[in-house]
Protein backbone atom coordinates (compact mmCIF):
# COMPACT_ATOMS: atom_id res chain seq x y z
CA UNK A 1 0.00 0.00 0.00
CA UNK A 2 1.01 3.59 -0.59
CA UNK A 3 2.20 5.59 2.40
CA UNK A 4 -0.46 7.81 3.97
CA UNK A 5 0.15 11.33 5.10
CA UNK A 6 -2.36 12.29 7.73
CA UNK A 7 -2.90 15.71 9.26
CA UNK A 8 -4.65 15.86 12.62
CA UNK A 9 -6.17 19.15 13.77
CA UNK A 10 -5.56 19.45 17.49
CA UNK A 11 -6.58 22.12 19.97
CA UNK A 12 -4.73 23.13 23.09
CA UNK A 13 -7.27 24.23 25.66
CA UNK A 14 -7.44 25.41 29.28
CA UNK A 15 -7.72 22.38 31.59
CA UNK A 16 -11.49 21.56 31.64
CA UNK A 17 -11.10 20.39 35.24
CA UNK A 18 -10.39 23.99 36.26
CA UNK A 19 -13.29 26.48 36.43
CA UNK A 20 -13.36 28.55 33.22
CA UNK A 21 -12.90 32.32 33.28
CA UNK A 22 -13.67 35.09 30.84
CA UNK A 23 -11.31 37.94 29.95
CA UNK A 24 -12.39 41.59 30.13
CA UNK A 25 -13.39 41.39 26.45
CA UNK A 26 -15.52 38.30 27.24
CA UNK A 27 -13.30 35.86 25.36
CA UNK A 28 -12.26 32.69 27.18
CA UNK A 29 -9.21 33.18 29.41
CA UNK A 30 -6.46 31.10 27.76
CA UNK A 31 -3.54 32.62 29.66
CA UNK A 32 -2.86 29.61 31.90
CA UNK A 33 -1.20 26.35 30.88
CA UNK A 34 -2.96 24.74 27.94
CA UNK A 35 -3.34 21.00 27.50
CA UNK A 36 -4.19 18.73 24.58
CA UNK A 37 -7.98 18.56 24.23
CA UNK A 38 -8.81 14.98 25.20
CA UNK A 39 -11.25 14.83 22.26
CA UNK A 40 -8.26 15.22 19.94
CA UNK A 41 -6.36 12.25 21.37
CA UNK A 42 -8.75 9.95 19.45
CA UNK A 43 -7.88 11.60 16.12
CA UNK A 44 -4.17 11.36 16.87
CA UNK A 45 -4.49 7.66 17.74
CA UNK A 46 -6.61 7.01 14.64
CA UNK A 47 -4.05 8.78 12.43
CA UNK A 48 -1.18 6.73 13.87
CA UNK A 49 -3.12 3.49 13.30
CA UNK A 50 -4.07 4.42 9.71
CA UNK A 51 -0.49 5.40 8.82
CA UNK A 52 0.68 2.11 10.33
CA UNK A 53 -1.90 0.11 8.40
CA UNK A 54 -0.84 1.86 5.17
CA UNK A 55 2.70 0.71 5.80
CA UNK A 56 4.14 4.16 6.30
CA UNK A 57 3.56 7.86 6.02
CA UNK A 58 3.65 10.73 8.41
CA UNK A 59 1.27 12.13 10.98
CA UNK A 60 1.43 15.93 11.15
CA UNK A 61 -0.35 17.96 13.81
CA UNK A 62 -1.85 21.33 12.97
CA UNK A 63 -2.87 23.68 15.77
CA UNK A 64 -3.68 27.32 16.46
CA UNK A 65 -2.95 28.66 19.93
CA UNK A 66 -1.93 31.90 21.63
CA UNK A 67 1.61 32.67 22.86
CA UNK A 68 3.39 29.93 20.91
CA UNK A 69 1.89 27.33 23.27
CA UNK A 70 3.25 23.83 22.56
CA UNK A 71 2.63 21.77 25.72
CA UNK A 72 -0.47 20.07 24.28
CA UNK A 73 1.34 19.48 20.99
CA UNK A 74 4.19 17.77 22.85
CA UNK A 75 1.67 15.33 24.33
CA UNK A 76 0.47 14.37 20.84
CA UNK A 77 4.04 14.23 19.50
CA UNK A 78 4.89 11.91 22.40
CA UNK A 79 2.07 9.62 21.28
CA UNK A 80 3.91 9.26 17.96
CA UNK A 81 3.07 12.14 15.59
CA UNK A 82 6.11 13.12 13.50
CA UNK A 83 5.87 16.90 13.51
CA UNK A 84 3.62 19.86 14.13
CA UNK A 85 2.62 23.16 12.60
CA UNK A 86 1.55 25.79 15.12
CA UNK A 87 -0.05 29.06 14.13
CA UNK A 88 0.23 31.68 16.82
CA UNK A 89 -0.54 35.36 16.33
CA UNK A 90 -1.82 38.09 18.64
CA UNK A 91 -4.24 39.18 15.91
CA UNK A 92 -6.12 35.87 16.34
CA UNK A 93 -7.54 36.79 19.75
CA UNK A 94 -11.33 36.69 19.44
CA UNK A 95 -11.21 34.52 16.31
CA UNK A 96 -14.49 32.78 15.53
CA UNK A 97 -14.94 29.29 14.13
CA UNK A 98 -14.72 30.42 10.49
CA UNK A 99 -11.54 32.43 11.16
CA UNK A 100 -10.00 29.45 12.92
CA UNK A 101 -10.92 27.24 9.98
CA UNK A 102 -9.25 29.67 7.54
CA UNK A 103 -6.03 29.57 9.54
CA UNK A 104 -6.03 25.79 9.94
CA UNK A 105 -6.85 25.27 6.26
CA UNK A 106 -3.92 27.47 5.18
CA UNK A 107 -1.57 25.54 7.46
CA UNK A 108 -2.91 22.12 6.43
CA UNK A 109 -2.33 22.95 2.76
CA UNK A 110 1.42 23.02 3.45
CA UNK A 111 1.41 19.39 4.60
CA UNK A 112 -0.35 18.07 1.44
CA UNK A 113 -2.22 15.35 3.33
CA UNK A 114 -4.11 12.34 1.95
CA UNK A 115 -6.43 12.55 4.93
CA UNK A 116 -7.29 15.21 7.50
CA UNK A 117 -8.68 14.11 10.86
CA UNK A 118 -10.30 16.27 13.54
CA UNK A 119 -12.49 15.81 16.60
CA UNK A 120 -16.19 16.48 16.08
CA UNK A 121 -15.88 19.52 18.34
CA UNK A 122 -13.52 21.04 20.89
CA UNK A 123 -14.17 20.73 24.61
CA UNK A 124 -13.95 24.48 25.24
CA UNK A 125 -15.63 26.26 22.32
CA UNK A 126 -17.68 23.27 21.05
CA UNK A 127 -19.00 25.02 17.94
CA UNK A 128 -18.67 21.73 16.06
CA UNK A 129 -18.37 23.58 12.75
CA UNK A 130 -14.60 23.95 12.27
CA UNK A 131 -13.85 20.54 10.63
CA UNK A 132 -16.56 20.97 7.99
CA UNK A 133 -15.45 24.57 7.38
CA UNK A 134 -11.83 23.44 6.94
CA UNK A 135 -12.96 20.81 4.43
CA UNK A 136 -15.00 23.38 2.50
CA UNK A 137 -12.09 25.84 2.42
CA UNK A 138 -9.72 23.14 1.12
CA UNK A 139 -12.29 21.90 -1.38
CA UNK A 140 -12.25 18.47 0.28
CA UNK A 141 -15.10 16.09 0.69
CA UNK A 142 -15.89 15.35 4.32
CA UNK A 143 -17.49 12.80 6.59
CA UNK A 144 -18.32 13.92 10.12
CA UNK A 145 -19.07 11.95 13.31
CA UNK A 146 -17.07 8.88 12.35
CA UNK A 147 -17.05 5.98 14.78
CA UNK A 148 -14.95 3.75 12.51
CA UNK A 149 -12.54 4.69 9.72
CA UNK A 150 -10.85 2.48 7.12
CA UNK A 151 -8.83 3.27 4.02
CA UNK A 152 -9.62 1.21 0.95
CA UNK A 153 -7.47 2.20 -2.04
CA UNK A 154 -8.41 5.75 -3.00
CA UNK A 155 -11.49 5.82 -0.76
CA UNK A 156 -12.13 6.33 2.93
CA UNK A 157 -14.87 4.14 4.41
CA UNK A 158 -16.53 5.43 7.53
CA UNK A 159 -19.21 4.34 9.95
CA UNK A 160 -20.97 7.62 10.65
CA UNK A 161 -23.06 8.19 13.76
CA UNK A 162 -26.72 9.08 13.04
CA UNK A 163 -29.80 9.79 15.13
CA UNK A 164 -31.04 6.24 14.62
CA UNK A 165 -27.83 4.22 14.49
CA UNK A 166 -25.06 4.61 11.94
CA UNK A 167 -24.52 4.98 8.21
CA UNK A 168 -21.75 3.43 6.15
CA UNK A 169 -20.32 6.31 4.13
CA UNK A 170 -17.67 6.31 1.39
CA UNK A 171 -15.73 9.29 0.09
CA UNK A 172 -12.81 9.82 -2.25
CA UNK A 173 -9.39 10.76 -0.88
CA UNK A 174 -8.14 13.29 -0.08
CA UNK A 175 -10.88 13.88 2.46
CA UNK A 176 -11.55 15.21 5.93
CA UNK A 177 -13.06 12.99 8.59
CA UNK A 178 -14.17 14.11 12.06
CA UNK A 179 -14.08 11.37 14.67
CA UNK A 180 -16.16 10.95 17.82
CA UNK A 181 -14.56 10.18 21.18
CA UNK A 182 -14.28 6.51 22.03
CA UNK A 183 -13.53 5.34 18.45
CA UNK A 184 -10.11 4.02 19.41
CA UNK A 185 -8.20 3.70 22.64
CA UNK A 186 -5.63 6.55 22.69
CA UNK A 187 -2.20 5.23 23.68
CA UNK A 188 -0.38 6.67 26.67
CA UNK A 189 2.89 8.31 25.66
CA UNK A 190 5.84 6.12 26.66
CA UNK A 191 8.86 7.57 28.44
CA UNK A 192 10.80 7.13 25.22
CA UNK A 193 8.03 8.89 23.32
CA UNK A 194 8.05 11.81 25.74
CA UNK A 195 11.82 12.19 25.40
CA UNK A 196 11.64 11.96 21.59
CA UNK A 197 8.83 14.54 21.45
CA UNK A 198 11.11 17.21 22.90
CA UNK A 199 13.20 17.28 19.74
CA UNK A 200 10.46 16.76 17.14
CA UNK A 201 9.99 19.74 14.79
CA UNK A 202 7.29 22.30 15.58
CA UNK A 203 6.99 24.79 12.74
CA UNK A 204 5.79 28.05 14.29
CA UNK A 205 3.97 30.34 11.89
CA UNK A 206 2.28 33.73 12.02
CA UNK A 207 -0.61 34.98 9.90
CA UNK A 208 1.77 36.76 7.53
CA UNK A 209 3.71 33.50 7.02
CA UNK A 210 0.42 32.01 5.82
CA UNK A 211 -0.41 35.02 3.68
CA UNK A 212 -3.54 35.82 5.71
CA UNK A 213 -4.51 39.46 6.24
CA UNK A 214 -4.85 40.00 10.01
CA UNK A 215 -7.81 42.33 9.43
CA UNK A 216 -9.91 39.47 8.05
CA UNK A 217 -9.61 37.14 11.07
CA UNK A 218 -9.68 37.53 14.84
CA UNK A 219 -12.07 39.95 16.52
CA UNK A 220 -11.42 42.38 13.65
CA UNK A 221 -13.02 40.09 11.09
CA UNK A 222 -15.18 37.72 13.13
CA UNK A 223 -18.47 39.31 12.04
CA UNK A 224 -19.87 38.80 15.51
CA UNK A 225 -19.61 40.63 18.81
CA UNK A 226 -20.46 39.65 22.37
CA UNK A 227 -22.93 42.20 23.71
CA UNK A 228 -23.57 40.82 27.20
CA UNK A 229 -22.65 38.06 29.63
CA UNK A 230 -25.17 37.43 32.40
CA UNK A 231 -25.63 34.90 35.17
CA UNK A 232 -28.19 32.28 34.19
CA UNK A 233 -31.17 32.00 36.52
CA UNK A 234 -30.11 29.46 39.15
CA UNK A 235 -32.27 26.48 40.08
CA UNK A 236 -33.79 26.63 43.51
CA UNK A 237 -31.72 24.69 46.02
CA UNK A 238 -33.03 21.18 46.52
CA UNK A 239 -33.06 18.80 49.46
CA UNK A 240 -29.75 16.97 49.89
CA UNK A 241 -29.66 14.02 52.31
CA UNK A 242 -27.10 11.42 53.39
CA UNK A 243 -28.06 7.83 52.63
CA UNK A 244 -28.83 6.04 55.87
CA UNK A 245 -29.76 2.85 54.04
CA UNK A 246 -33.34 4.04 53.51
CA UNK A 247 -32.78 6.96 51.13
CA UNK A 248 -34.26 4.96 48.24
CA UNK A 249 -37.61 5.45 50.02
CA UNK A 250 -37.19 9.20 49.65
CA UNK A 251 -36.84 8.74 45.90
CA UNK A 252 -39.94 6.54 45.75
CA UNK A 253 -41.91 9.13 47.75
CA UNK A 254 -40.63 11.92 45.50
CA UNK A 255 -41.75 10.02 42.37
CA UNK A 256 -45.11 9.22 43.97
CA UNK A 257 -45.62 12.87 44.76
CA UNK A 258 -45.05 13.69 41.08
CA UNK A 259 -47.59 10.98 40.21
CA UNK A 260 -45.18 9.34 37.78
CA UNK A 261 -45.42 5.97 39.57
Amino acid sequence: MAPMNVVVCVKQIPDPAEPGKLEADNTLDRSGKLILDESDSYGVEMALQLADAAGGGEVTLVSMAPNGETSGLRTALAMGAAKAILVSDDALSGAGALDTAKVLAAAIKRAEPDLVLAATESSDGYTGTVPEQVAALLGLTSVTFAKEVHIDGQAVKVQRQTELGYDEVEAELPALVSVTAGVVEPRYPSFKGIMAAKSKPVDQLTLSDLGIDAATVGSAGAGQEIVAVDDAPAREAGEIIEDDGEAFGKIVAYLENLKVI
Binding site: P16, P19, G20, G96, A97, L98, A101, T120, E121, Y126, T127, G128, T129, P131, E132, Q133, L137, T141, V143, T144, F145, K147, R160, Q161, T162, E163, L164, G165, D167, V169, E170, A171, A175, T180, A181, G182, G223, Q224, E225, I226, V227, V229, A232, A234, R235, G238, E239, I241, E242, D243, G245, A247, F248, K250, I251, V252, Y254, L258, V260, I261
Partner: protein
Protein backbone atom coordinates in the same frame (compact mmCIF):
# COMPACT_ATOMS: atom_id res chain seq x y z
CA UNK B 1 -37.99 45.75 14.61
CA UNK B 2 -38.77 42.49 13.03
CA UNK B 3 -36.84 40.74 10.32
CA UNK B 4 -38.37 40.43 6.92
CA UNK B 5 -37.57 36.79 6.15
CA UNK B 6 -36.12 33.72 7.91
CA UNK B 7 -35.25 30.35 6.40
CA UNK B 8 -35.29 27.21 8.50
CA UNK B 9 -33.30 24.13 7.45
CA UNK B 10 -35.81 21.30 7.80
CA UNK B 11 -34.92 17.73 8.81
CA UNK B 12 -37.05 14.63 8.93
CA UNK B 13 -36.77 10.91 9.57
CA UNK B 14 -39.11 8.46 7.83
CA UNK B 15 -41.25 11.30 6.56
CA UNK B 16 -41.75 12.74 10.05
CA UNK B 17 -40.45 16.27 10.52
CA UNK B 18 -37.90 16.54 13.35
CA UNK B 19 -39.09 18.36 16.51
CA UNK B 20 -36.16 20.82 16.27
CA UNK B 21 -37.41 21.96 12.85
CA UNK B 22 -40.91 22.67 14.18
CA UNK B 23 -39.44 24.46 17.22
CA UNK B 24 -37.37 26.75 14.98
CA UNK B 25 -40.31 27.48 12.64
CA UNK B 26 -42.41 28.49 15.65
CA UNK B 27 -39.75 30.88 16.97
CA UNK B 28 -39.07 32.25 13.49
CA UNK B 29 -42.75 33.32 13.18
CA UNK B 30 -42.24 35.61 16.16
CA UNK B 31 -39.22 37.27 14.58
CA UNK B 32 -40.01 37.66 10.91
CA UNK B 33 -42.86 38.51 8.59
CA UNK B 34 -42.07 35.58 6.29
CA UNK B 35 -40.86 32.13 7.31
CA UNK B 36 -39.73 29.59 4.72
CA UNK B 37 -38.14 26.14 4.88
CA UNK B 38 -35.32 24.46 2.98
CA UNK B 39 -35.40 20.68 2.69
CA UNK B 40 -32.70 18.36 1.38
CA UNK B 41 -34.38 15.03 0.73
CA UNK B 42 -36.71 13.40 -1.74
CA UNK B 43 -39.89 12.95 0.32
CA UNK B 44 -40.94 16.58 -0.02
CA UNK B 45 -44.67 15.77 -0.12
CA UNK B 46 -44.47 13.88 3.17
CA UNK B 47 -43.01 16.81 5.07
CA UNK B 48 -44.69 19.78 3.37
CA UNK B 49 -47.92 19.67 5.37
CA UNK B 50 -46.27 19.71 8.82
CA UNK B 51 -43.88 22.48 7.76
CA UNK B 52 -46.81 24.55 6.47
CA UNK B 53 -48.82 23.91 9.63
CA UNK B 54 -45.94 25.41 11.63
CA UNK B 55 -45.66 28.55 9.55
CA UNK B 56 -43.54 27.84 6.47
CA UNK B 57 -45.20 29.50 3.49
CA UNK B 58 -42.64 28.31 0.97
CA UNK B 59 -40.58 25.12 0.80
CA UNK B 60 -37.34 25.11 -1.14
CA UNK B 61 -36.62 21.47 -1.96
CA UNK B 62 -33.54 19.89 -3.50
CA UNK B 63 -35.27 16.60 -4.22
CA UNK B 64 -33.59 13.25 -3.62
CA UNK B 65 -29.85 13.52 -2.97
CA UNK B 66 -29.20 10.00 -4.37
CA UNK B 67 -27.45 8.82 -1.24
CA UNK B 68 -25.13 11.77 -0.91
CA UNK B 69 -24.59 13.18 2.56
CA UNK B 70 -26.35 16.59 2.68
CA UNK B 71 -23.52 18.99 3.58
CA UNK B 72 -22.17 19.71 0.10
CA UNK B 73 -25.38 19.46 -1.97
CA UNK B 74 -27.67 21.40 0.38
CA UNK B 75 -25.12 24.12 1.17
CA UNK B 76 -24.31 24.59 -2.52
CA UNK B 77 -28.01 24.75 -3.38
CA UNK B 78 -28.69 27.41 -0.72
CA UNK B 79 -25.62 29.40 -1.77
CA UNK B 80 -26.80 29.33 -5.38
CA UNK B 81 -30.23 30.66 -4.39
CA UNK B 82 -28.64 33.46 -2.43
CA UNK B 83 -26.21 34.36 -5.24
CA UNK B 84 -29.27 34.54 -7.48
CA UNK B 85 -30.59 37.35 -5.28
CA UNK B 86 -33.11 35.35 -3.24
CA UNK B 87 -31.75 35.96 0.26
CA UNK B 88 -33.30 35.91 3.74
CA UNK B 89 -32.02 37.88 6.75
CA UNK B 90 -31.35 34.80 8.83
CA UNK B 91 -30.98 31.05 8.25
CA UNK B 92 -31.59 28.73 11.20
CA UNK B 93 -30.15 25.23 11.54
CA UNK B 94 -30.67 22.72 14.35
CA UNK B 95 -27.66 21.54 16.34
CA UNK B 96 -27.84 18.06 14.79
CA UNK B 97 -25.44 15.90 12.79
CA UNK B 98 -26.73 17.25 9.48
CA UNK B 99 -27.56 20.79 10.62
CA UNK B 100 -24.04 21.50 11.79
CA UNK B 101 -22.49 20.18 8.57
CA UNK B 102 -24.74 22.12 6.21
CA UNK B 103 -24.43 25.35 8.25
CA UNK B 104 -20.62 25.04 8.32
CA UNK B 105 -20.37 24.40 4.55
CA UNK B 106 -22.72 27.30 3.86
CA UNK B 107 -20.71 29.66 6.07
CA UNK B 108 -17.66 29.07 3.87
CA UNK B 109 -19.66 29.43 0.65
CA UNK B 110 -21.06 32.77 1.83
CA UNK B 111 -17.97 33.75 3.85
CA UNK B 112 -20.20 34.52 6.85
CA UNK B 113 -19.76 33.45 10.47
CA UNK B 114 -22.00 30.93 12.22
CA UNK B 115 -23.15 31.53 15.78
CA UNK B 116 -23.55 28.16 17.46
CA UNK B 117 -25.25 26.45 20.42
CA UNK B 118 -27.90 29.13 20.65
CA UNK B 119 -30.85 28.72 23.00
CA UNK B 120 -32.57 32.01 22.23
CA UNK B 121 -32.89 34.45 19.33
CA UNK B 122 -33.76 38.14 19.54
CA UNK B 123 -33.75 41.08 17.19
CA UNK B 124 -32.22 44.30 18.49
CA UNK B 125 -32.58 47.17 16.04
CA UNK B 126 -31.18 45.73 12.82
CA UNK B 127 -29.06 43.09 14.54
CA UNK B 128 -29.81 39.43 15.28
CA UNK B 129 -28.71 38.51 18.82
CA UNK B 130 -28.19 34.89 19.90
CA UNK B 131 -27.96 33.56 23.44
CA UNK B 132 -25.52 30.75 24.26
CA UNK B 133 -25.17 29.10 27.67
CA UNK B 134 -21.54 28.58 28.75
CA UNK B 135 -19.75 27.12 31.79
CA UNK B 136 -22.36 24.42 32.29
CA UNK B 137 -25.22 26.85 31.72
CA UNK B 138 -24.28 29.09 34.64
CA UNK B 139 -23.61 32.04 32.34
CA UNK B 140 -25.49 33.26 29.29
CA UNK B 141 -23.50 34.92 26.53
CA UNK B 142 -25.36 37.11 24.06
CA UNK B 143 -23.66 37.59 20.70
CA UNK B 144 -24.81 39.74 17.82
CA UNK B 145 -23.92 39.54 14.16
CA UNK B 146 -22.01 42.56 12.91
CA UNK B 147 -22.13 41.56 9.24
CA UNK B 148 -24.96 42.02 6.78
CA UNK B 149 -27.26 39.04 6.28
CA UNK B 150 -27.94 36.37 5.57
CA UNK B 151 -26.79 35.46 9.09
CA UNK B 152 -26.35 31.80 9.98
CA UNK B 153 -27.20 30.37 13.40
CA UNK B 154 -27.25 26.91 14.97
CA UNK B 155 -30.03 26.37 17.51
CA UNK B 156 -30.01 23.77 20.28
CA UNK B 157 -32.96 21.36 20.36
CA UNK B 158 -35.71 22.03 22.92
CA UNK B 159 -34.97 25.74 23.13
CA UNK B 160 -38.53 26.61 22.03
CA UNK B 161 -41.92 24.93 22.22
CA UNK B 162 -43.36 23.96 18.82
CA UNK B 163 -46.82 25.37 18.10
CA UNK B 164 -48.91 25.15 14.97
CA UNK B 165 -49.76 28.35 13.11
CA UNK B 166 -52.78 26.97 11.30
CA UNK B 167 -50.99 27.54 7.99
CA UNK B 168 -51.80 25.52 4.89
CA UNK B 169 -49.45 23.59 2.62
CA UNK B 170 -46.48 25.69 1.48
CA UNK B 171 -45.63 26.52 -2.10
CA UNK B 172 -42.95 24.02 -3.15
CA UNK B 173 -40.03 25.39 -5.16
CA UNK B 174 -37.49 22.94 -6.56
CA UNK B 175 -33.96 24.28 -6.26
CA UNK B 176 -30.86 23.45 -8.26
CA UNK B 177 -28.05 21.45 -6.66
CA UNK B 178 -24.79 22.62 -8.28
CA UNK B 179 -22.52 20.15 -6.42
CA UNK B 180 -23.29 16.79 -4.82
CA UNK B 181 -19.80 16.13 -3.40
CA UNK B 182 -18.27 12.67 -3.34
CA UNK B 183 -19.42 11.37 0.07
CA UNK B 184 -22.12 8.74 -0.34
CA UNK B 185 -24.09 6.61 2.07
CA UNK B 186 -23.74 2.96 1.03
CA UNK B 187 -25.71 1.39 3.85
CA UNK B 188 -27.87 2.47 6.81
CA UNK B 189 -28.04 0.70 10.16
CA UNK B 190 -30.83 1.33 12.62
CA UNK B 191 -30.08 0.35 16.21
CA UNK B 192 -33.01 -1.49 17.73
CA UNK B 193 -34.20 0.18 20.88
CA UNK B 194 -37.20 -0.55 23.02
CA UNK B 195 -39.05 1.98 25.14
CA UNK B 196 -39.25 5.74 24.56
CA UNK B 197 -36.51 7.69 22.78
CA UNK B 198 -33.97 9.37 25.01
CA UNK B 199 -34.83 12.91 23.94
CA UNK B 200 -38.58 12.32 24.08
CA UNK B 201 -38.91 10.28 27.28
CA UNK B 202 -40.77 11.74 30.26
CA UNK B 203 -38.32 10.01 32.61
CA UNK B 204 -34.59 9.59 31.98
CA UNK B 205 -32.27 7.53 34.17
CA UNK B 206 -28.59 8.20 33.45
CA UNK B 207 -25.45 6.52 34.73
CA UNK B 208 -21.88 7.73 34.99
CA UNK B 209 -18.39 6.72 36.00
CA UNK B 210 -19.52 6.27 39.61
CA UNK B 211 -21.13 2.97 38.57
CA UNK B 212 -17.62 1.51 38.56
CA UNK B 213 -17.70 -0.72 35.50
CA UNK B 214 -19.68 -1.50 32.35
CA UNK B 215 -21.65 -4.43 33.81
CA UNK B 216 -23.13 -2.18 36.49
CA UNK B 217 -24.91 -0.16 33.81
CA UNK B 218 -27.59 -2.85 33.71
CA UNK B 219 -29.23 -1.45 36.84
CA UNK B 220 -29.68 1.85 34.98
CA UNK B 221 -31.45 0.08 32.12
CA UNK B 222 -33.60 -1.87 34.57
CA UNK B 223 -34.57 1.30 36.43
CA UNK B 224 -35.41 3.07 33.18
CA UNK B 225 -37.58 0.13 32.18
CA UNK B 226 -39.34 0.02 35.57
CA UNK B 227 -40.14 3.73 35.21
CA UNK B 228 -41.09 3.43 31.51
CA UNK B 229 -38.30 5.87 30.78
CA UNK B 230 -35.12 5.91 28.71
CA UNK B 231 -31.60 5.11 29.87
CA UNK B 232 -28.92 7.78 29.35
CA UNK B 233 -25.24 8.19 30.08
CA UNK B 234 -22.51 10.69 30.83
CA UNK B 235 -19.80 11.34 28.28
CA UNK B 236 -17.23 9.60 30.48
CA UNK B 237 -18.82 6.16 30.15
CA UNK B 238 -19.61 6.63 26.45
CA UNK B 239 -15.93 7.46 25.82
CA UNK B 240 -15.00 4.42 27.91
CA UNK B 241 -17.11 2.30 25.57
CA UNK B 242 -19.64 1.06 28.18
CA UNK B 243 -22.65 2.23 26.16
CA UNK B 244 -23.19 3.52 22.60
CA UNK B 245 -22.82 7.17 21.68
CA UNK B 246 -26.57 7.48 21.19
CA UNK B 247 -27.01 7.20 24.99
CA UNK B 248 -25.01 10.33 25.70
CA UNK B 249 -26.69 13.25 27.44
CA UNK B 250 -24.89 16.59 27.34
CA UNK B 251 -23.19 19.18 25.25
CA UNK B 252 -21.91 16.61 22.77
CA UNK B 253 -24.88 14.28 23.04
CA UNK B 254 -28.61 14.73 23.42
CA UNK B 255 -30.34 17.62 25.12
CA UNK B 256 -33.10 16.21 27.31
CA UNK B 257 -35.90 18.01 29.13
CA UNK B 258 -37.85 15.22 30.81
CA UNK B 259 -40.27 15.57 33.68
CA UNK B 260 -37.86 13.54 35.86
CA UNK B 261 -34.10 13.12 35.39
CA UNK B 262 -32.25 10.69 37.63
CA UNK B 263 -28.44 11.04 37.59
CA UNK B 264 -26.65 8.10 39.20
CA UNK B 265 -22.90 8.17 39.74
CA UNK B 266 -22.58 11.29 37.60
CA UNK B 267 -20.46 14.10 39.05
CA UNK B 268 -22.04 16.76 36.85
CA UNK B 269 -19.31 18.06 34.55
CA UNK B 270 -20.38 21.24 32.78
CA UNK B 271 -20.63 19.25 29.56
CA UNK B 272 -23.31 17.04 31.16
CA UNK B 273 -25.22 19.78 32.99
CA UNK B 274 -25.87 21.69 29.77
CA UNK B 275 -27.72 18.68 28.39
CA UNK B 276 -30.03 18.01 31.34
CA UNK B 277 -30.46 21.01 33.62
CA UNK B 278 -33.64 21.89 31.78
CA UNK B 279 -35.34 18.82 33.32
CA UNK B 280 -38.34 19.68 35.46
CA UNK B 281 -37.30 17.50 38.40
CA UNK B 282 -33.75 16.29 39.01
CA UNK B 283 -32.76 13.49 41.37
CA UNK B 284 -29.03 12.87 41.91
CA UNK B 285 -27.26 10.03 43.66
CA UNK B 286 -23.52 10.41 44.18
CA UNK B 287 -21.09 9.47 46.92
CA UNK B 288 -19.28 12.81 46.74
CA UNK B 289 -21.27 15.49 48.61
CA UNK B 290 -19.28 18.17 46.75
CA UNK B 291 -20.25 16.87 43.28
CA UNK B 292 -21.56 19.71 41.06
CA UNK B 293 -24.61 17.62 40.12
CA UNK B 294 -26.06 18.44 43.57
CA UNK B 295 -26.15 22.14 42.66
CA UNK B 296 -28.97 21.41 40.19
CA UNK B 297 -30.67 18.55 42.08
CA UNK B 298 -34.14 18.89 43.60
CA UNK B 299 -33.50 15.73 45.57
CA UNK B 300 -29.91 14.73 46.22
CA UNK B 301 -28.81 11.50 47.87
CA UNK B 302 -25.23 11.45 49.11
CA UNK B 303 -24.58 7.74 49.03
CA UNK B 304 -23.27 4.70 47.23
CA UNK B 305 -25.10 4.01 43.96
CA UNK B 306 -24.41 0.29 44.43
CA UNK B 307 -26.51 0.34 47.60
CA UNK B 308 -29.20 2.87 46.68
CA UNK B 309 -30.03 1.74 43.13
CA UNK B 310 -30.72 -1.98 43.77
CA UNK B 311 -33.05 -1.09 46.67
CA UNK B 312 -34.79 1.53 44.55
CA UNK B 313 -35.23 -0.97 41.72
CA UNK B 314 -36.61 -3.59 44.06
CA UNK B 315 -39.09 -1.11 45.55
CA UNK B 316 -40.26 -0.02 42.09
CA UNK B 317 -40.58 -3.56 40.79
CA UNK B 318 -42.57 -4.58 43.87
CA UNK B 319 -45.26 -2.02 43.12
Amino acid sequence: MALSRIWVYAEAADGKVAPITLEMLTKARELAGTVEAVYGDGDTDAVAEALGAHGATKLYATGDLQGHTPAVPVASAIAKLIEGGDAPDLILFGTTYEGRDVAARLSVALDKPVITNSTDIAVDGDAVVLTEPVFGGTKLVRTKFTTAGPNIALIRPKSFAAEESGGGAPEVVTIEVPDYGSAKVTNRHVEETSGPKLDEAAIVVSGGRGLGDAEKYKVIEDLAKALKGAPGASRAIVDAGWVPYSYQVGQTGKVVKPNVYIAAGISGATQHLVGMKGAKNIIAINKDAEAPIFSVADLGIVGDVHKVLPKLLEALQAR
